[in-house]
Each structure stands twice: as structure tokens, then as C-alpha cells.
């Protein structure tokens, strides 16, 4: 990806990609792939389906670029497609089954300092992933969008196509269930 494309806004990249610029499209893929993957994971609840859905998302985005209006923000449009793909793929009969397999262990560098703390942190994170995967997709979505992606209620509402009040109630319900699953909190 060229440095020029790196600095372009999403909407501009999307317009370029719609005009046939594959480099611009790949820049969008690189920029958003992890967020898309996480959202797909939150819809699908497991890594294999998340992978399928993330790939499918970008293919659909590519297909839909001609109808995308660059005057509208790219992020919500992308999230909507990713969420739909995630839900569609999860229909493969694994709905709601937390499948946190060996390969799901995060390989990312854990910021925890000491080995013991790191182990404890990893353990909690692992339990949290299990608990998240066990949530209904709608609750998992708001939780991931809020706690992982840091979106505001309004942004989540837009992505999920629900009122902001519903975002709040789902978030509350999601956290309550997670707390219960994690042992009732402190």
C-alpha cells in the first residue's frame, strides 16, 4: 500500500476503489480488516465462521462499491455489511456455541508485565472470551463494539440498526451476564 493511500480518508479510498483502483481497495481492507474480523466474530461466535464472514464482507463491499455514496461515512456502512455477513455465516449451525479452540488463543503480545500477572491476565481474558462467545449475538455485538472498538452508543445504534436506548439496555444485560459468567465480580 502506498503512503499516499495510507493517508486518504476511507470515503476517498472507497471512491477510488469503486473506480477500479485495487490498491485503494486493499488499503481499505488493511485498515479495517481487524475491526471487521472482530465484528464478524461477535456475530458468529467462533473463529472459523468469523474468518468466512470477514472475507465475505470485503467481497460484498467490493461488489457494492458502485452503489456506495462517498458523502456518507464509510465506517457504519462497512460495519453493517460485516454484521450481516457474520450473522449469515453463523447460520452454519454453530449458533451460540462458544468454540474457543486452541487456535483461538490470542497471539498478540500481552501488555501485562510479569509472567504471573500475564498468566492471570491471560486466564481472565480466556474466560472472558468464553463468556463473550456464549452470549447471544446481539448482546455480544454491543459489548464488542463498545468495549473493544470503543464506539459510542450512537455509533453502535447505527451499526446495529437499533435505538440508542436499546444499545444501553443490551449493554447492561451483556455486562450482567458476563459478570455472572466470570464469577459474580469482585
Amino acid at each position: 500500500m502506498s503512503a499516499d493511500l495510507d493517508e486518504e480518508k476511507d470515503e476517498r479510498l472507497a471512491a477510488l476503489a469503486a473506480g477500479g483502483d485495487r490498491g485503494a481497495f486493499e488499503a481499505l481492507v488493511t485498515r479495517h480488516r481487524q475491526a471487521v474480523y472482530r465484528l464478524c466474530w461477535s456475530a458468529a461466535g467462533n473463529s472459523a465462521d468469523a474468518d468466512d464472514a470477514a472475507q465475505e464482507t470485503f467481497v460484498r463491499v467490493y461488489r457494492s462499491l458502485p452503489s456506495y455514496d462517498p458523502a456518507r461515512p464509510f465506517g457504519p456502512w462497512l460495519r453493517k455489511i460485516a454484521w450481516n455477513c457474520g450473522l449469515t455465516v453463523r447460520r452454519g449451525g454453530n449458533a451460540g456455541v462458544p468454540r474457543v479452540a486452541e487456535g483461538d488463543a490470542p497471539e498478540a503480545v500481552d501488555p501485562a508485565p510479569g509472567p504471573e500477572e500475564a498468566a492471570a491476565g491471560n486466564e481472565e481474558r480466556r474466560r472472558m472470551e468464553d463468556a463473550l462467545a456464549a452470549l447471544p449475538a446481539e448482546l455480544r455485538m454491543v459489548m464488542v463494539l463498545r468495549a473493544v472498538e470503543g464506539l459510542s452508543y450512537a455509533e453502535i445504534a447505527q451499526a446495529a440498526g437499533i435505538p440508542a436506548g436499546t444499545v444501553m439496555s443490551r449493554l447492561s444485560r451483556a455486562r450482567t451476564r458476563l459478570l455472572t459468567a466470570l464469577g459474580g465480580g469482585s
Binding site: 474468518d51 452454519g92 449475538a137 468495549a147 440498526g161 437499533i162 449493554l171
Partner: protein, 386 residues
């Protein structure tokens, strides 16, 4: 502000979504309430721990190439897994529509000229001649040669004329969803000789055949390992592929389609072709559904009896009919459900994609998804509010 009120606002407080005035009130309460303070700390701890398992650098290294490969294939021609083919579907459609139209014409001609031939007329009244249901409005294709039995009653050209004038038929070709679904499996569309000769038996078999063994075998065969997955499994880390093993075989849509036309013992086409091969003696349809039942009703009845394959065939015939938009929307979702229940997930996906495309924010689809969410795997789940 008391604890209850505070805790109701705690999530929004934690997320920085409270207006300043309320925020100040919550802060005031928190200063003197360790219990609410502990709850707030839990929220923070939970958010910190919340994370999606990252598939790792090796995965991301290949991610772009896989996407660009698929996009490249898409741009260069029909992809391997094209949910919505961009061109050529009309021609493909006509492959089924022409014989279907001819079948409809035959029915009209036979009823008109030949008197009421019991088998044919009954079926026509019941709306169970799939070919008739598929007849496009205003489309008057050249009728193919009529089978001998029909030729005795009416000449082919008069059949064509009559069809063009009188056919009230519902439309498939102009409705993208119906077209796409009908295109996937040819089963509900009968050729003219089948429509003229066996519709009654066909329906009886739909209602009364006892399929489990044959179907199971067919399903096993379809889901057999070794069939190349057509979706993005290429390049996926092995553990993900292993994780997906339960559904791998079902993703081969192409193979499905071929199987539907050739090997599936339960497909309507096959049943019509070789009635004696698998079907037990036909029993009256009344045992399964009212005589006047439409294919749509029949599909529901059969599904209730766990005869999913037959229900699918009936449902496809139903969708080939002239449905209003809400009925078609529900019907497509039901078809997806039937495909899911047969573990034909790729086909179900394709149908879902059609629903999404044609009916954005589809309520029936949402409901179906929620049903899967709450019923299938999470019996204790709190119903999701809408």
C-alpha cells in the same frame, strides 16, 4: 440519588454517555458508596478483559491476498461462490421456464378441449402443477413439441396461442428472489410430460412417501468429507478448517446443485422420473394435507412431520407461485430454514442473501435468526428486545 438509581445509570456513566448533570449526581453517590464503586470497578475490569481472540500474524499476512484473490475472480468473471450472479440468469431461467410454460399450456388446453381428465384437472385446481405456477406473465415462448398423449388432444401451436392469451400465471422471472431461488434447484419445475402425466402421483408421494433412510443417505453423501469447500476455506489456518469440519461438506453449492438434479433420491424431478424406484405405494394426499392445500400449506404440513426434503420441494413450488411480497419474504425465510434443517447451509446462505437483498431489515429474517439464537443453543437466553 440512591443505589438503585445509580446502578441503573452505571453503564452509561462508565461509558461516558451520561449528560453532565446526571454524571455529577452519580459521582456524588459513588463517593459515599463502596458497593456501587465496586460495581463500577467490575465494569472497568470486564471491559479491559473483553477481547476477541486474534487469529495471529500468520493469518493476517494472508488475509489481504485471500480477499484480493476472490475480488479478482469476481471482477474477472463469475466467482466460485457467487451469491448473486450478475448476468446470464435470464437465459438460465428460460431453460426451466420454457418447458414449464409448455406444461401450463398443456393443462389449459387439456382442460379446455379434452374435458376434465381427472388427474390433471384435480391437480390444476389445487395449484400443484409447478410448471403452471412458474408461468411468466406476458412471456410467450415457442412451445416445444407436445408429448404424444397431449398431441392427440390439441396441436402444439394452438396450445401456444391459448397460453399467450389466457395464462393468468404468476411470475418468477420478474421477481429476482423467486428467480434466484428457483434457479438453484430445478426440482419443483416439471417438464411438460411429467406435468401432464404424473402430477397427482407426485403430490401423493410428497405427502405420503416415507423418506428417512434415503434422505439420510443422500445427506451423508452430500456432506461427505473430501468435497472441496467452495467458500473462503482456502488459505484458512488448519485449526479453523478443523473447527469447521462439521459444515465443510455442505459448503459445496455447485456440487449440491448437481446432486439435486441427478443423485438426490428425494428431489421432485427424480421422483417424477422414477416413481417406482423409491416411493412406496401412493396413498391419498388427504392423510397429509387437505385436498385443496396449496404447495405453501403442504410445505408447512410436511415440515411439521419432519419430512423436510419433501417440504422443501413443496416450498419451492410455493415460491414459484404468484405470492405477494410479505408472503414471498416469509416463504424464502422458511425455505432457508428447511435448507438449514437439512444442513445445506450454503444454499440456505444464498436464500438468506436474497432475502437480505430484496427485503432490507427483514423482520421474518430477524425473527428466524433470533429463534436460532435463543432456541437452538441457548435455552436460558434472555429474549432480545427489539
Amino acid at each position: 440519588m440512591d443505589c438503585r438509581e445509580t446502578q441503573a445509570l452505571l453503564n452509561a456513566f462508565h461509558d461516558g454517555e451520561l449528560p453532565a448533570a446526571e454524571r455529577a449526581r452519580v459521582e456524588g453517590h459513588l463517593r459515599g458508596c463502596p458497593e456501587c464503586g465496586a460495581l463500577l470497578a467490575d465494569l472497568a475490569r470486564m471491559d479491559q478483559a473483553a477481547g476477541v481472540p486474534d487469529p495471529g500474524p500468520a493469518y493476517w499476512d494472508r488475509f489481504n491476498a485471500r480477499v484480493m484473490d476472490r475480488v479478482g475472480r469476481e471482477a474477472d468473471g463469475p466467482g466460485v461462490r457467487v451469491l448473486r450472479p450478475k448476468g446470464g440468469w435470464m437465459r438460465e431461467q428460460l431453460r426451466y421456464l420454457v418447458p414449464a410454460a409448455a406444461a401450463a399450456a398443456l393443462v389449459v388446453v387439456i382442460v379446455h378441449y379434452g374435458g376434465m381428465t381427472p388427474g390433471v384437472s384435480t391437480t390444476a385446481r389445487d395449484g400443484l402443477v409447478p410448471g403452471q405456477a412458474e408461468m411468466p406473465r406476458g412471456l410467450s415462448p415457442r412451445p416445444p413439441a407436445a408429448p404424444p398423449a397431449a398431441s392427440e388432444r390439441a396441436a402444439p401451436d394452438s396450445a401456444g396461442e391459448r397460453m399467450a392469451k389466457a395464462e393468468p400465471a404468476p411470475l418468477v422471472a420478474k421477481k429476482p428472489g423467486g428467480a434466484a431461488v428457483a434457479r438453484r434447484l430445478p426440482s419443483p419445475v416439471l417438464t411438460e410430460e411429467r406435468a401432464a402425466a404424473v402430477p397427482r402421483e407426485e403430490r401423493d408421494r410428497l405427502a405420503d412417501r416415507s423418506p428417512p433412510e434415503g434422505n439420510k443417505e443422500a445427506s451423508r453423501e452430500r456432506a461427505a468429507p473430501g468435497s472441496p469447500p467452495v467458500t473462503a476455506a482456502d488459505g484458512m489456518p488448519p485449526e479453523m478448517q478443523a473447527e469447521r469440519k462439521g459444515t465443510a461438506g455442505a459448503t459445496a453449492m455447485k456440487r449440491e446443485q448437481q446432486a439435486a438434479g441427478t443423485a438426490k433420491p428425494a428431489s421432485g424431478t427424480r421422483m417424477a422420473k422414477e416413481p417406482s424406484a423409491e416411493a412406496p405405494p401412493a396413498v391419498s394426499l388427504a392423510s397429509a394435507a387437505p385436498r385443496s392445500a396449496s404447495p405453501c400449506d403442504l410445505a408447512r404440513t410436511l415440515a411439521e412431520r419432519e419430512r423436510i426434503r419433501d417440504a422443501e420441494t413443496a416450498q419451492r413450488a410455493c415460491l414459484a407461485g404468484d405470492l405477494d411480497a410479505p408472503s414471498r419474504e416469509k416463504g424464502l425465510v422458511f425455505l432457508a430454514e428447511l435448507l438449514d434443517r437439512q444442513e445445506r447451509f450454503s444454499e440456505a446462505d444464498a436464500v438468506i442473501a436474497e432475502v437480505e437483498k430484496q427485503y432490507p431489515q427483514s423482520r421474518p429474517l430477524d425473527l428466524y435468526r433470533q429463534q436460532r439464537l435463543t432456541v437452538q443453543k441457548e435455552p436460558k437466553a434472555v429474549p432480545v428486545t427489539r
